[in-house]
């Protein structure tokens, strides 16, 4: 009997004979990953990918029972968590993994920012990465409405209300999102379409470009390596060493996810998703209304803005401010071009620190000032 290995090799040869995959394997084998004190950050991109795969799988499972619509969305989620066997677990995994995915993406983004890995030639990778961050936030925002409970309803009312104050395009944007003048069943239909069709398709497309670029260009090396002789640069092969470590990280993540979902199916503390009451568009919101943690800093900043700033409505100033900051952050590789001369400017690192401090302080205040 031929051993499994020889069958495997023959299968490989058979495929290689037709589509020449050996070149690809050689390429992977020659790729290497730099080793240094900050190499831990290299794992967060892969971790984000892991959570995305979990989201796709658990999301498809939820789709088997979820029914969009003002008269059925809440009821179907209730059905999932109370009647369907392990339904509570699937919803817990989808909710936990959504939060962990956003956390992983945010950490990944900041690590790229502070190691300045966005420098030439990786500007396009940074741009696609920012695109993915935007999409993942929209994933979270659109998914949050789907259970059609009280909190979701008011969070969406305020969130889409923000889209409404964007100068010029606001009215159109708000209607585009709401599918009506108000947040109604039509809004669920749209958000559902975004959440399970438009966003997954866009995300997959942008992610493909992002990963192809990473494979093509390899990992960025730390800035301190620029003046080092080749002999002092430590590396490890991408395949199999780095890949195996990546898989180990995924395994740990899977375990953490399982523990969280089983022991805290409805979240912990301020991070929770109890179904609560069904949305009622003609009732007052609960007193402690707040958005998901990743929008908290914006929500809190809006609370601090006065009604009028130099004759302009406060929230308009806020929206334009956040919009400009977002554009600046996205275009940072084109502003920060100092390394080519070998001269290090700390300006961008400080800008980043200020941004992080702002987000942290506002988020913190959002939770304690309640």
């Amino acid at each position: 009997m031929p051993s499994i290995k020889s069958v495997g090799l023959r299968l490989f040869d058979w495929v290689d004979d037709r589509v020449q995959i050996k070149a690809l394997v050689d390429y992977m084998a020659h790729k290497s990953v730099p080793r240094h004190d900050h190499e831990i950050w290299y794992y967060f991109g892969g971790l984000s990918l892991f959570f995305f795969i979990i989201q796709v799988c658990s999301g498809i499972l939820l789709l088997l029972y979820y029914r969009p619509g003002a008269d059925s969305a809440y009821e179907s989620v209730q059905f999932i968590i109370s009647k369907v066997q392990f339904g509570w677990l699937i919803r817990a995994i989808h909710s936990w993994s959504a939060n962990l995915m956003i956390l992983a993406v945010v950490i990944h983004m900041f690590s790229v920012f502070f190691t300045r890995a966005y420098r030439k030639p990786r500007e396009i990778t940074w741009l696609t990465g920012m695109g993915l961050l935007g999409l993942v936030l929209f994933f979270g925002f659109s998914g949050y409405l789907l259970p059609w409970n009280e909190l979701a309803f008011f969070a969406t009312k305020v969130g889409t209300g923000m889209a409404g104050v964007v100068p010029l395009a606001g009215g159109f944007l708000m209607k585009l999102l709401r599918g009506s003048d108000e947040v109604t069943g039509a809004t669920i239909t749209r958000f559902f379409g975004f959440h399970v069709a438009v966003l997954p398709a866009l995300f997959t497309a942008v992610l493909t470009v992002h990963l192809l670029l990473v494979q093509r260009q390899g990992m960025s090396e730390p800035e301190s390596w620029e003046s080092r002789p080749e002999s002092q640069k430590r590396r490890m092969p991408f395949f199999p060493n780095f890949l195996l470590r990546d898989l180990l990280v995924w395994l740990i993540a899977l375990n953490v996810l399982a523990i969280l979902a089983v022991f805290f199916p409805y979240g912990i503390g301020p991070l929770h998703w109890d179904l609560g009451l069904k949305a009622d568009p003609f009732s007052s919101p609960p007193a402690h209304i707040r958005p998901e943690w990743y929008f908290m800093f914006m929500f809190q900043s809006l609370k601090f803005l006065p009604a009028k700033i130099l004759l302009v409505d406060g929230e308009v100033v806020g929206i334009i401010g956040f919009g400009l900051a977002g554009v600046f952050w996205t275009l940072i590789p084109f502003f920060d071009r100092t390394t080519e001369k070998g001269r290090r400017k700390r300006l961008y690192a400080y800008t980043g620190l200020v941004a992080v401090m702002f987000v942290l302080v506002m988020t913190f205040l959002g939770y304690i000032l309640d």
């Binding site: 008011f154 104050v165 568009p281 003609f282 007052s284 929230e315």
Partner: protein, 152 residues
């Protein structure tokens, strides 16, 4: 001859470019229009019933949210037993306001916006006052009727 070919070529380029633009417009325009939800004609209600006084007296915060067409409204039972009605849509980001008897203001929990009992925005982010509506109490039926304008 050279010149002729060039002319012909640039003519073809224009034709092609124009064609592409026309195709994109023919695809894009219907989609743009499709994305905008159709206007659902609002039944021209000039007056709605917001509930009964008994309900309002029993209500915990001495206010009630009611439905005026597709918009939420609020009726408030003031300390002097006067009944007032307002649009309940916060002028900041469209949350729903409520009455706070302890502060004697209309309060929006979403970003801590406050309005006085004439609807004027007095603190927090709301940029404009709430629209005040006309509340009318009918003793016989105990109903509170609300209309938007003076004329009703």
């Amino acid at each position: 001859m050279q010149n002729d070919t060039l002319k012909r070529r640039s003519f073809l380029n224009y034709l092609l470019g124009g064609g592409v633009i026309a195709v994109l417009a023919a695809i894009g325009f219907p989609i743009y229009k499709y994305l905008k939800p159709p206007k659902i004609p609002e039944a021209a209600e000039s007056q709605v019933t917001a509930g009964t006084l008994a309900e309002l007296q029993a209500a915990e915060g001495r206010y009630k949210i009611f439905r005026f067409g597709r918009k939420p409204g609020i009726v408030v039972l003031m300390p002097n037993n006067e009944i007032r009605a307002f649009s309940a849509s916060c002028t900041h980001l469209d949350c729903i306001v409520q009455y706070r008897p302890d502060l004697n203001v209309l309060w929006c929990p979403c970003h801590n916006g406050k309005y006085d009992l004439t609807g004027r925005n007095i603190s927090g982010p709301p940029p404009r006052p709430l629209e005040q509506w006309v509340a009318h109490y009918d003793k016989a039926s105990d109903n509170i009727f609300v209309s938007k304008g003076e004329g009703a």
